[in-house]
């Protein structure tokens, strides 16, 4: 059994900005544990000689030329904005510090 605790789940939920009820924390704690265990099983089979796969498609170096493409109009830019001043998006005052 892996060691996912309720605190781990609450911490992750906080980082992901997801509000969870106590019941949800309980069920996610056991579900995440099961997932981590399943992945641990894979690790047992794939030894250190098998590199981790992050990209299943054997392609690399897909790039584009440095050429300017289309930009959005102001109307398009702010179409989905809850609040703006015509030039910039307006967001709630931010508590805490810049990253």
């Amino acid at each position: 059994m892996s060691e996912i605790t309720r605190e781990d789940v609450q911490h992750l939920a906080g980082l992901a900005r997801i509000a969870l009820t106590d019941d949800e924390v309980t069920s996610l704690t056991s579900e995440l544990s099961a997932i981590v265990d399943a992945i641990a099983t894979v690790s047992e089979i794939a030894g250190p000689d098998v590199p981790a796969t992050s990209h299943p498609v054997p392609l690399s170096n897909v790039m584009r030329a440095d050429e300017v493409g289309e930009t959005l109009s102001a109307e398009q830019v702010f179409a989905g904005a809850p609040s703006h001043d015509g030039e910039r998006f307006r967001v709630s005052a931010i508590l805490g510090e810049e990253q």
């Binding site: 498609v57 790039m63 830019v77 030039e87 967001v91 005052a93 931010i94 805490g96």
Partner: protein, 498 residues
């Protein structure tokens, strides 16, 4: 605590993270114009954005090939190895300047690693700064905090976001811990950032203007008691946006930490903010664990595997190292040791060089930067580079050389340029500062001055040519200084003998 006392009791260990905005035409992962490219500097907010810059659903990143070339060149210039294969990663956090809610960066597989940068201190000693890695990532948007106390986060009522900068290609250069800096720590900090700036400029991959945020430095400082092996707790000072600030911030942190440790306190591992106005740092957020960013490989981008042919091609195109570059310039310009040291120590080499490239003679360029411009920068407490463009200095000198301006008028024009009145020619026009070349006006002024000083006129006629000075002075005054004194002298002597 006094700096010397702090150094007596503690050994400082430094580390730097320098972010360089690459000056490609487009962004790191999309074809939107890049505000770090000179063509797009002055764009209005949110005009350099496409769906990816805004993190709109369904938009997908594609790597900018030129940004990769720039990054490899920079890695090579830092003496790094270039990865055979590397990948991008998501760094997850919520902040309104990052609309995707993650930043695409590189985590476990940077494109360049294990290098070193040689720097030269004022007294000529060379120090090698070990480089841990240089990785590619994208910049965030720009926030303006409104309300509360002038633009600070604390007390702001709301914030405005401009996403022009979101997605600008960045290379983050991370040093290894730097030991043995001792009393030179502040100078090493400054010279290191200047060296990165010089390398980036010589590669032509960024304008590297600190005041514009093209080059940004986070300075890590920790102290350990003399004789202790384990490293002390470090702080990371952000917002250090000039070479002078880098030097001051490192000195300040050494003294601040030493005082706390000496009083039996402990240092909190945190981000601190540098305040240029007060010359102090203030606490920011506690430093997040890397784990809290939940890095994972970016599924929307494929790995990069720079071919060895490309790496060797870029290596063959590397410009000379900054130390060699300096030696060559000194020889080419024919400066004396003293003149050259003046330029280097004033951190004006790149400015003088750019001015020479723009057409001025090395001596004229040197005189402007180490003379009048340095004086004004000093007076205003800012960096010389933020006052005036090298091209404008070259244009100003050209006006002097062609006789349109006297030295005195040129200084007035410089003031106008610095005040934002435009290019030198525009300032001359707007302020009406051109040298009076109208011969008839000069002759009339000379005649008037001679008539009002008959005794002087007699002396000149008697062969006492030096007496002409008084007349020349009167004419220059009448012309409000806007005349070429040598020409006035010729006219005075000519008219006196008539």
């Amino acid at each position: 605590m006094d700096f010397d006392e702090a150094l007596e009791r503690f050994e400082p260990v430094l580390g730097f993270e320098v972010h360089v905005e690459l000056g490609t035409r487009t962004k790191m992962f999309s074809a939107a114009p890049n505000p770090a490219h000179p063509d797009f500097h002055d764009a209005e907010p949110n005009t350099l954005v496409d769906p990816l810059s805004l993190g709109l659903p369904g938009s997908l990143p594609v790597v900018n090939a030129e940004a990769v070339r720039y990054s490899i060149s920079l890695g090579l210039a830092l003496g790094c190895e270039i990865a055979q294969s590397c990948r991008f990663a998501r760094k997850n956090y919520f902040y309104p300047d990052t609309p995707k809610n993650y930043q695409i960066s590189q985590y476990d597989e940077p494109i360049a690693f294990e290098g070193a940068v040689e720097i030269e201190l004022a007294d000529g000693r060379q120090v090698s700064i070990p480089i841990e890695r240089a990785h590619m990532e994208e910049d965030a948007g720009k926030l303006t905090h409104v309300g509360g106390s002038t633009g600070r986060i604390q007390g702001a009522e709301y914030s405005l976001v401009d996403y022009n900068r979101a997605g600008v290609p960045l290379v983050e250069i991370v040093t290894k811990p730097i030991f043995g800096a001792e009393h030179d720590a502040p100078e090493i900090a400054k010279r290191y950032v200047a060296a990165i700036r010089d390398i980036v400029l010589s590669l032509g991959i960024s304008e590297a203007r600190m005041e514009r945020g093209n080059l940004r430095c986070d300075a890590n400082v920790s102290l350990r008691p003399r004789g202790q092996e384990a490293l002390g707790t470090r702080t990371e000072t952000k917002n250090v946006n000039s070479l002078r600030s880098v030097e001051r911030a490192v000195r300040y942190e050494i003294q601040r930490q030493a005082a706390i440790l000496a009083a039996g306190g402990t240092i909190v591992q945190e981000t601190r903010h540098w305040h240029e106005d007060t010359g102090a740092t203030s606490p920011g957020r506690p430093k997040s664990d890397a784990d809290d960013y939940r890095y994972f490989p970016e599924p929307d981008l494929l790995p990069l595997a720079p071919s060895r042919e490309l790496v060797e091609e870029l290596r063959s195109q590397l410009p000379e190292q900054p130390v060699a570059h300096r030696r060559r310039l000194k020889a080419e310009w024919g400066f004396t040791d003293l003149e050259f040291q003046d330029v280097v120590n004033g951190d004006m080499l790149h400015l003088v060089e750019a001015t020479v490239v723009a057409g001025a003679t090395p001596q004229a360029a040197r005189k402007w930067w180490t003379g009048e411009i340095a004086r004004l920068a000093n007076e205003q407490g800012v960096e010389a580079s933020s006052l005036v463009e090298p091209e404008h200095v070259a244009q100003l000198q050209a006006l002097v050389d062609e006789g349109a301006l006297t030295d005195r008028l040129a200084r007035q024009v410089l003031e106008g340029v610095i005040a934002g009145e435009g290019a030198p020619a525009e300032v001359v026009e707007a302020r009406g500062l051109k040298v009076v070349t109208d011969e008839s006006a000069l002759v009339a002024a000379v005649d008037e001055a001679l008539a009002s000083q008959p005794d002087v006129l007699q002396k000149i006629r008697d062969g006492k040519v030096q007496a002409a000075g008084a007349v020349i002075g009167a004419v220059m005054k009448a012309m409000r200084g806007q005349a070429d004194a040598a020409r006035v002298r010729e006219i005075v002597l000519q008219r006196a003998m008539d």
